[in-house]
Symmetry: C3
Subunit: 342 residues, 3 copies
């Protein structure tokens, strides 16, 4: 695509030779000649100038950088929009494969694709335009909203509800039994998990993540929440709108996360814990108690991130501190001796 | 169901209007009007009184609480029993689907269900009444005990044994190769894993958990052990009876866990470690050395939980402690100066 | 097999009765009578002597040990070679099953096995002699090298490349979308992931591990790298040759690991981090900053392992240290009082 055409399609203005051919699109780190990339803010302009990219999406033209530039209001959003045009969807409508199993009492919306080896149970519903990939299982009475994409080998157990435009990556399990046992006569007795899972609209769930069904009532994930690979959501957990859960984060039973919760990688929330809106747990942080103030939290036991940074800085000097205390003790003992000996 | 009928079915006595209709069952947290719930002990009575539940299973009648009450010996067990009646089993006997693959040399017990797209290899055996869901793979010579339920997309590799009444949740992998390599001439050379996996009776394994086969001999999980989602059990591990392993817990190669081991979420056991019976690792605890005394252990490096609690309390005050040491040094230096100046 | 024959097959010399029958092979821990085992080095000779093994592979004959011994240059490698003969491969050539789906435009090399319920998309290629197990999905345009083994229920999304002799264990997901979102108007907007995954030769990936596709360009895993179960490799990560990643290790977006990186269990690398060649992260270590020197690193925040060991030793004594500081303060206050009172 020519620079001038690209600028026009983005409603931006361009600086550089209108006829330059943009042949690819990539992040600054892996840009090659011919690529279009974007500059998040002025701090990244130097890195952009040094990259191999031929053309930059920028907020403000920088004449000192000898590259074609397209000025737009929001370079990152424009970049994301262009990416979306490059891979509009990985699966094409394919109808209902005769190699799939669709129960006669399942209900499929218009334009649904069910690929070979997918299994759709009795009373399950799949909304219009959704794609059900090979190896997907949808349990009895479960419901998938319109325009959703279930990647291969996803298992949605019975009685679960997933909203519109869901993206469920390969290997995800939704509606497995919550982990509940009581001890009686030295045995672990299973607590039957008779609840379900309710997932809002525009939720994405990463590969091999697990969302357990509730003991009673429902495990709930509100709309707009994005979950990374290998995340664990236990029974009866409630996750607020627009939350972000990174890989290996885990939430134990019955905890309630507020809106826009962010859990960084390997962070955890204990059972029956309540987080207010806007809480961020940094990597490897874990809390077993409620958090009432929005903000960044770190460590285990949990503390505000700034305290944790101070604590960790002090921890690094702990062996030295112990030595200093030993010296103080020695000096004081010497002083005392001298004092006594006076 | 009417209160009087419910009380009778539980061999309990009731307090309240015999004709009250109980329309549902749920935990105290999510109880609605019409629901039956249970009160674990007297400490929870206040919470129960404030809940929306219409009827409570209690150990002792509390006349100050204005709700119908059914008195039973063990309210929690009674509650669990009622849950079991609500969802007796998620899959119904369905026979052997013509859309499944069952090797002619596989051996299926009476009343086994094999659903579409399941694959049962040569010389595999499935015990009477077991249900094999879509997408399940059972490898050559493997054996599944009676009354077991293998949820969708479970993979049981060759030569593995699973006992009776197993519940294996979706996506579980049993019998994958242990992670063993030796370094030779700068290369990682694979150590073939020729052992197997042996799982006792009444074992439950959570979604997407992984149980590796042994290098030689067998990885063993004793009867009554319950494993949560996304747990890792490495080659040659031995897990004692009635153990509980929560999500993201992991056990490295050849370690031996005693009976009734409890591993809380994100806890770990290093390789070749031996834990005596009755050891509990709290969340995020990890041990690389043997533990000979039953009890609660925390942190990494591991320590008894009470020591860890003290240590963490001290850690929170570490920046302040460092300041105090600095002040001591200053005061001592001042004293010395004054001392010298005398 | 007779001792003399075994020794001959290993080009070793034997000590003991030539006619002894070796009936099995196992590690020292689980050796039974009749078994052959190996002795890693002289330190393990005592353990070997006490084991039930009937015959030992040794580097040097030890006449004080009353067991048959076979002397070879490299006992461990000889042992590994013998294991390989016991379980040469878990799947046999089976041709293309009529119960599989192979797109007419897919390209299969000679002797490829495609088992029932496997799905091979348009323009996908599978190299000669590879085995594709039940429930495997191979996406559009993806390529699997010669002699590879994809265990059941593996999902390889579109446009990914896997080299020769790959071993991909059950439930692995390769090419799921990287976890990328930008926040606009209070919403999480998906960053389309248009890149791919490129995996070299002789790579092994453990059960239920996840390798995300790149935003642009490719996530790359170099040849000879071995990845354990339940590992997370995020978008645009680059992993150097011959690396070893243990269970629950995770690498965040765009990080570059050098050659022969070792990540022990539950260790992590933050995003945009660069590790030089030969870095080992010990269990539960995590780094968010670059590491320029090879060696062992521990803790979070990360530090050289020897510093971490000292720090942890000091941490164990922290409550005591705090007490000592309190006593110093008291003594100094007493001294001052006495001083004032003089």
């Amino acid at each position: 695509m020519k620079l001038s055409e690209l600028a026009e399609s983005l409603s931006g203005t361009f600086h550089g030779d209108a006829g330059i051919e943009v042949t690819g699109i990539s992040g600054l780190d892996d840009a090659r000649e011919g690529d279009l990339s974007f500059v998040l803010d002025e701090k990244h302009m130097k890195k952009a100038a040094e990259s191999a990219a031929s053309c930059l999406l920028v907020k403000k033209h920088d004449p000192s950088v000898a590259k074609a530039q397209i000025v737009v209001d929001d370079p990152q959003a424009a970049f994301v929009g262009l990416l979306g045009k490059m891979r509009p969807r990985p699966f094409w409508p394919s109808g209902i494969s005769p190699m799939a199993y669709v129960d006669p009492q399942a209900e499929l919306g218009e334009g649904v694709s069910v690929m070979p080896f997918a299994y759709i149970s009795k009373d399950a519903r799949v909304g219009a335009g959704s794609v059900i990939c090979p190896g997907v299982f949808i349990g009895e009475g479960s419901s998938i909203g319109e325009g959703s994409l279930l990647y291969p080998n996803v298992s949605v157990m019975d009685g679960c509800t997933i909203g519109k435009r869901a993206i469920i990556h390969a290997g995800v399990v939704i509606g497995s039994d919550g982990f509940g046992f009581i001890q009686r006569k030295g045995q672990n007795v299973k607590v039957p998990q008779v609840g379900s899972v309710e997932i809002g609209d525009d939720v994405e769930i990463g590969a091999n993540a697990c969302i357990d069904r509730a003991t009673t009532d429902a495990t709930r994930i509100a709309s707009g929440t994005k979950i990374d690979n290998l995340v664990q959501v236990a029974h009866n957990v409630q996750i607020g709108e627009g939350s972000i859960l990174a890989a290996f984060s885990g939430i134990a039973g019955s905890s309630k996360l507020g809106k826009r919760t962010v859990m960084a990688a390997m962070s955890g929330v204990g059972d029956h814990v309540k987080l207010t809106d806007g809480v961020t747990l940094t990597a490897m942080a874990a809390t077993t108690s409620d958090i009432d103030e929005p903000g960044y939290y770190s460590g285990f036991p949990i503390m505000p991130m700034r305290d944790w940074l101070k604590t960790m800085a002090a921890l690094r000097k702990l062996p030295e501190l112990a030595k200093r205390v030993g010296e103080l003790e020695k000096r004081l003992a010497d002083n005392d001796t001298r004092g006594d000996g006076k």
